[in-house]
């Protein structure tokens, strides 16, 4: 089951284990330059607002409603990252396998959406080992940042790979570890904790008209309001290999969610809430001398996807798509870099 709590999605499988839970939030962040350089991790600048989509049934296209899930606002060309956290303090975190897709294209492999887990090539993240995901896996240790882009302009990964602008948004599917495997893992953790105890102390209302016009109107509305994700600048980030076996995951108890991305400019008309503030630019952030982050773990990491590697990044698509001119490529001088430790946190405090 998935609940919405404090602008985070909380995945729980109480029928499997009381500890089987994790939270996922969508972090606002800087859009790093798409200049060919590899950037360190930008900060988390607060959570994107999340709302149940059915609460706005009369103000959103019917197709959005049918997908269910949640809705979040982003500005065009705004960047985001996904932050994964435990609902539990300290140790005892329950492992999950998480599939992440944008426009129903897997963000790890570039393959079309599928529900079962695939091990070769691995098409999922393993939590809690993976603390976050900032973009598409394009090379070993390198991702291209998730950047919001309009649909229908052949900028999004979905459109570049399928030729269609059908889905947009983000798709999530989480499978918990099987109970018996977790019990064994807990026993292993207790054994290690005992050996190192000092280290582990702790839309329209039916206006008459022909159906074709209605469908066309809805499609235009949807294309205007909804956003997809496209690959932006390059960033250092490992996607970790699964250290367990694919049989260790309980694929009979998956929880999935469709995340519709609404254009921030339409947020007020959809929800009645104030439009989110404009995102901070990388240039302003760098000029302020604020921190960037680095996180490296001594664990095997996946090779990047050759399919995703072949997708054009925004610097090569945005202008050609007739979008307003944006400075996507001017490099910025990176400020002080904070090396993150075992329990990495990169969200800036309010």
């Amino acid at each position: 089951m998935i609940t919405l709590e404090d602008d985070a999605l909380v995945f729980r499988c109480p029928e499997i284990h009381p500890k089987a839970q994790f939270s996922l939030s969508f972090q606002r962040t800087l859009r790093i330059p798409d200049d060919g350089r590899d950037y360190p991790l930008p900060p988390g600048l607060g959570r994107f607002s999340l709302r149940h989509i059915e609460d706005y049934a009369k103000r959103v296209p019917e197709r959005w409603l049918r997908r269910g899930g949640i809705i979040l606002p982003m500005f065009q060309a705004e960047a985001m990252w996904l932050s994964f956290g435990s609902c539990l303090s300290f140790d005892g975190e329950y492992p999950f396998a998480l599939k992440v897709a944008t426009g129903k294209i897997n963000a790890v492999t570039g393959a079309p959406w599928s529900q079962p887990l695939c091990r070769d090539p691995q098409d999922y993240l393993v939590l809690p080992e993976q603390p976050w995901l900032d973009g598409y896996s394009v090379e070993k240790g390198i991702i291209r940042q998730f950047v919001a882009a309009p649909m229908g302009r052949r900028i999004t990964v979905e459109e570049q790979l399928t030729g269609e602008a059908e889905w947009g948004g983000i798709q999530l599917l989480a499978y918990p570890m099987k109970r018996e495997r977790f019990d064994r893992l807990e026993a292993e953790r207790r054994k290690i904790a005992a050996e190192f105890s000092d280290l582990f102390a702790f839309e329209s209302d039916g206006e008459p008209g022909d159906a074709f016009i209605a469908t066309l109107r809805e499609t235009v509305l949807e294309m205007r309001c909804s956003l997809g994700l496209a690959p932006g600048g390059r960033m250092h980030q490992q996607i970790f290999e699964d250290e367990f076996n694919v049989e260790d995951w309980d694929q009979e108890h998956g929880s999935r969610c469709f995340v519709t991305i609404a254009n921030s400019a339409d947020w007020t008309s959809i929800t009645g809430e104030a439009m989110p503030s404009k995102p901070v630019t990388a240039r302003d952030y760098a000029a302020a001398g604020l921190h960037w982050y680095d996180y490296y773990a001594e664990a095997p990491a996946l090779d990047g996807s050759t399919v995703l590697q072949g997708v054009k990044s925004i610097a090569n698509t945005w202008g050609d798509a007739g979008q307003d001119a944006l400075d996507l490529v001017t490099s910025v001088a990176v400020g002080p870099i904070v090396q993150l430790g075992a329990r990495p946190v990169r969200e800036m405090q309010d």
Binding site: P18, F90, G341, R343, Q349
Partner: protein, 122 residues
């Protein structure tokens, strides 16, 4: 408040802060106090259970800083968040009955009445 509540709250905060401090030096007493807007000496007294838990706002800032759940930390400090108080005040009889009914229910039974994110066709 009873001394036991003070100690429980203080111990929990200290353990949570120290656990983070092991991996990140920004979780020193001084830096956490600075971020949540209190004096280090005051936070130290809170952690030792020598003074009553701080205000609701400060507990919420502390919970956010330490990555703890706001409601759980408020409850540990003997408080209920103002939004929850408003919810109960709006329909006191209904919510009082509901809470009493659910008092002894297991977590999974309570979770079944929580609003879930609806999945659709995609």
């Amino acid at each position: 408040l009873q001394p036991k509540v003070l100690t429980l709250f203080g111990n929990h905060v200290r353990h949570a802060r120290e656990a983070r401090l092991q991996a990140d030096r920004r979780y020193s007493l001084r830096q956490v106090a600075q971020r949540i807007g209190v004096e280090p000496a005051y936070l130290s007294k809170v952690e030792r259970g020598e003074v009553a838990p701080p205000s609701e706002e400060t507990i919420c800032r502390l919970a956010d800083d330490l990555g703890e759940d706001r409601d759980a930390l408020l409850a540990l400090g003997g408080k209920v968040s103002s939004d929850l108080r408003e919810i109960i005040r709006a329909r006191p009889k209904l919510f009082a009955e509901l809470l009493r009914e659910l008092k002894a229910a297991p977590d999974d039974a309570v979770l079944r009445i929580v609003r879930q994110v609806r999945d659709g066709d995609w």
